[in-house]
């Protein structure tokens, strides 16, 4: 079965939301590793 006609816009919406979530997770990971480094030093 083929996806419905608006599948292209739906694909873009999903990819966009996945990219945003991935960017937020990476940013959180960087902040966490930085905080761990400081905590381990003290």
């Amino acid at each position: 079965m083929n996806p419905p006609p608006d599948a292209d816009s739906e694909r873009k919406r999903i990819q966009r939301s996945r990219s945003i979530v991935m960017a937020l997770l990476l940013a959180a990971f960087v902040v966490l590793v930085y905080a761990i480094s400081i905590a381990k030093m003290t």
């Binding site: 996806p3 694909r11 999903i14 979530v21 966490l32 905080a35 761990i36 400081i38 905590a39 381990k40």
Partner: protein, 303 residues
Amino acid sequence: MSQTATIPLPADWRDFFALTKPRVMSLVIFTGLCGLLAAPGAINPVLGFTAILCIALGAGGAAALNQWWEADIDAGMKRTRARPIPAGRMDRSAARDFGVALSVASVLLMGLANGWLAASILAISIFYYAVIYTIWLKPRTPQNIVIGGGAGAFPPMIGWVAVTGDITAMPVLLFAIIFMWTPPHFWALALFVQSDYAKVGIPMMPVVAGETSTRRQILVYALLLLPLSAAPWWIGGTGAIYGVSALALSSLFVALSFRVGLRQRTGPDDTMKPEKQLFGYSVLYLFALFAALVADRWLLVQG
């Protein structure tokens, strides 16, 4: 026909989140946090947060691997057929890769932040759930829940070890309590969703040994749980607040288990109310028991 029209849609981020079994994870996070808070000693808040995060990520990774392996089984059960893979919203290999990535990341991060003993126990717990329980025992033996329940028993031990850096009697007892709690908790559920497990060929205790045997075993485990739950008090690891709470909570657990253990299904119209009550209470029991453990520790520290 355009090329994009034939390519399936990518999975939504919410489906990846659903792979981690967030509801199960809430209990894992709670018991892990309680183990961390009840342990003697202090931990930097950032490192404490990281320990709980890693326990959650590890549990999520193991859950994703579980759903990758059991996609066909999930498709045959009403309770699980809406999950991302059987519902066709996600490719199986994506779930596998996601599960492996989460598992490896959680162990490495915990090793760097909280030490390699805690990280090793986390790695063992992931392997225990994803391989020993999901792949090996669950499809082979009706004792799958008994042995596999060990996977869910690791979080408080990991939280404890993240603080103390060593394994003593207390984290082992916390492990044993959840280990002993798992069979009556899960078999109560299996009694009222029995037909689903039978349909997909999973040898759950009610299917293989029959309802009567399962009910008796629920009662046996509940009776064993009663002294075990109070053992941290008896060895001097906690105060009376925990001890009395444990005895009261476990006594009610035994009382509800008696209702399940000594009855028979009255017929096809049986609403299975005692079994549903026991299952609901078992979740509440674990939350309350570990909350009492933390409250006891905090009141002891505050003098």
